[in-house]
């Protein structure tokens, strides 16, 4: 029986010819990531392990992005722990706020992940890099510590679900709508412990930013990872951002998939996830009247340049509804600057929105846009759990940047064609 793309990458990194689903392996790591929430815990464990040095100073990335710029004293102390460790260990990839971004947008942009890599990160959305044809997955702080100390990690080889894509999305439908649609279809544990492997000629029509958004939310279906094949667009992206050596893996022709889902991209509707789970999806025509107080555009899911362009296109020359709070947070400094050059920031501010420095901030209810009791937000983020963005009785609706922008203008959830 052949191997899936994920299994082939794992086999190579475990020094094996073949691996099969369910097998436990130890694999070499190309990159270990942590942030200001998870890394301080990991550093304590690192010390307890008796480790003195990280396994490779170029292969550890530390990104203070969740509560930065430091929202309070405790956050400041956590960031200080990271900074001091980075200096002491001479970590190459530690990013201070001036050059930072939200980790999962930043690492590909800095060229730290390339096709064929094995990456673990103490953050569940580490699965984002599957867009580049890498095997990447979220782990906890203790795993991060072990990875930093040994350069290895233990994994159970996952089985896979295949999503075979044909056709192309009909704008303004985006990658976000596709992944919300898929999660609605298979449920928040529909891919639990498994890989989501995307195949088919439909992939060629998806931009890299769309692919990052899709792979980012694999975890919202419970998946271990989501992965895309490497094509011309991937290589173009990699060559523009990285000098690292890469390896292109392809699934075997007889690779085993537990199930194959066929999706015609032209049939995917604009999709919104209702509270309080990402799989509680509805197509835009079934949303009904949902009035909202706040719109958040950004995050590691949808804070890239194409997302900002999509939102700006709709907001240009318009005003947000009375009493609407529109918060835009570009995912990295580079994206922020690009948006500025393209005049997007001006469009957001003129429409009555605010633009924040890159941070996770509102996405996890950290700072910069917390919701009060009973308030509703449309967000381009990835989670709408109880209390995710503030008060336990607030509500988050997940949508694409285009739907979010249109909703900011209308004061209720609405598709971009209606404004």
């Amino acid at each position: 029986m052949g191997m899936t793309m994920t299994q082939k990458i794992m086999a190579k990194h475990a020094g094996k010819e073949i691996v099969t689903a369910g097998e436990l392996i130890e694999a070499e790591l190309d990159l270990v990531l942590g942030n200001d929430i998870t890394a301080p815990v990991a550093l304590k464990e690192f010390e307890k392990m008796g480790a003195k040095n990280v396994f490779h100073k170029d292969k550890v990335a530390l990104v203070p992005d969740h509560f930065t710029p430091n929202k309070d004293i405790k956050s400041a102390e956590n960031c200080k722990i990271l900074r001091e460790f980075a200096v002491e260990q001479d970590i190459t990839n530690y990013f201070e706020i001036g050059e930072m971004g939200i980790e999962h947008a930043l690492l590909p942009e800095k060229g730290l992940v390339v096709p064929g890599d094995v990456v673990i990160g103490a953050d569940s959305h580490t699965c984002t890099y599957g867009a580049l044809g890498a095997f990447s997955t979220g782990i906890g702080s203790t795993d991060m510590a072990a990875g930093m100390a040994t350069g290895k990690g233990w994994f159970r080889v996952p089985s896979a679900l295949r999503f075979h894509l044909t056709g192309s999305l009909k704008p303004p439908v985006s990658g976000k709508d596709l992944i919300l649609h898929i999660i609605g279809m298979i449920g928040v544990d529909g891919a639990r412990y498994k890989s989501m492997e995307f195949t088919g000629e439909g992939i060629a029509s998806l931009s890299m930013d769309d692919r990052f958004t899709i792979a980012n939310m694999a975890i919202e279906a419970g998946a271990k990872n989501g992965i895309f094949p490497v094509d011309d667009k991937t290589l173009e992206y990699v060559k523009a951002h990285s000098t690292k050596e890469y390896t292109v893996y392809e699934p075997d022709e007889d690779a085993e998939y537990e199930l194959t889902y066929e999706l015609d991209l032209s049939q995917i509707p604009l999709t919104v996830s209702f509270p309080h789970l990402p799989d509680n999806t509805r197509s835009i025509d079934k949303v009904g009247e949902v009035e909202i107080d706040q719109v958040v555009i950004g995050s590691c899911t949808n804070g890239r340049i194409e997302d900002l362009r999509a939102a700006a296109k709709i907001l240009k020359g318009k005003k947000v509804a009375k009493n609407m709070r529109l918060i835009v947070f570009p995912a990295t400094q580079k994206i922020y600057l690009q948006a500025m050059k393209e005049g997007l920031i001006e469009i957001f501010i003129e429409a009555g929105g605010i633009v924040s420095t890159p941070t996770c901030g509102p996405c996890l209810g950290g700072h910069m846009g917390i919701l009060a009791k009973g308030e509703r937000a449309v967000a381009t983020t990835n989670r709408n759990f109880v209390g995710r963005m503030g008060h336990p009785e607030s509500e988050v609706y997940l949508a694409s940047p285009a739907v979010a922008a249109a909703s900011a203008i209308a004061g209720k959830i609405i598709g971009p064609d209606s404004v």
Binding site: A149, G222, R383
Partner: protein, 163 residues
Amino acid sequence: MIAKGKAFVYGNNVDTDVIIPARHLNTSDPQELASHCMEDIDSNFVHKVAKGDMIVAGKNFGCGSSREHAPLAIKSSGISCVIAKTFARIFYRNAINIGLPILECEVAVEEIKADDKLEVDFKKGIIVNITQNKTYETQPFPPFIQKIIEADGLVNHVKQQLK
């Protein structure tokens, strides 16, 4: 190892945001985390929980973020073990890595009621419902994971490797 305690029963998809809301993640102090454990789903939890008690829940327990603060908060609150129909992947790893015993047992979860008295033997995977006088057997961990558990978590496991 055997633990005894009463059951706190929850439904499907208990996510890490309700186990320990992100607004408390600016600390990693186990006691402080424990004082907010389950806050957004059950504000009585921290007042009622006693050492040895168990959490019993449905499918996909611990879904969502990778925060190890979630199993840490649960462990430090005094909970001796979590029994669920299934666990989300990262939570499963984290629990093993920090030494919070977890068991998957669908039948037990369906039958256990809130406040039932339970006795659990994690090594053997045996759950006894004392209140209802019922016994359940679950899958033991695969050998590789047992090794980590025997080393009392990943930290010691790696410590042994680094020597």
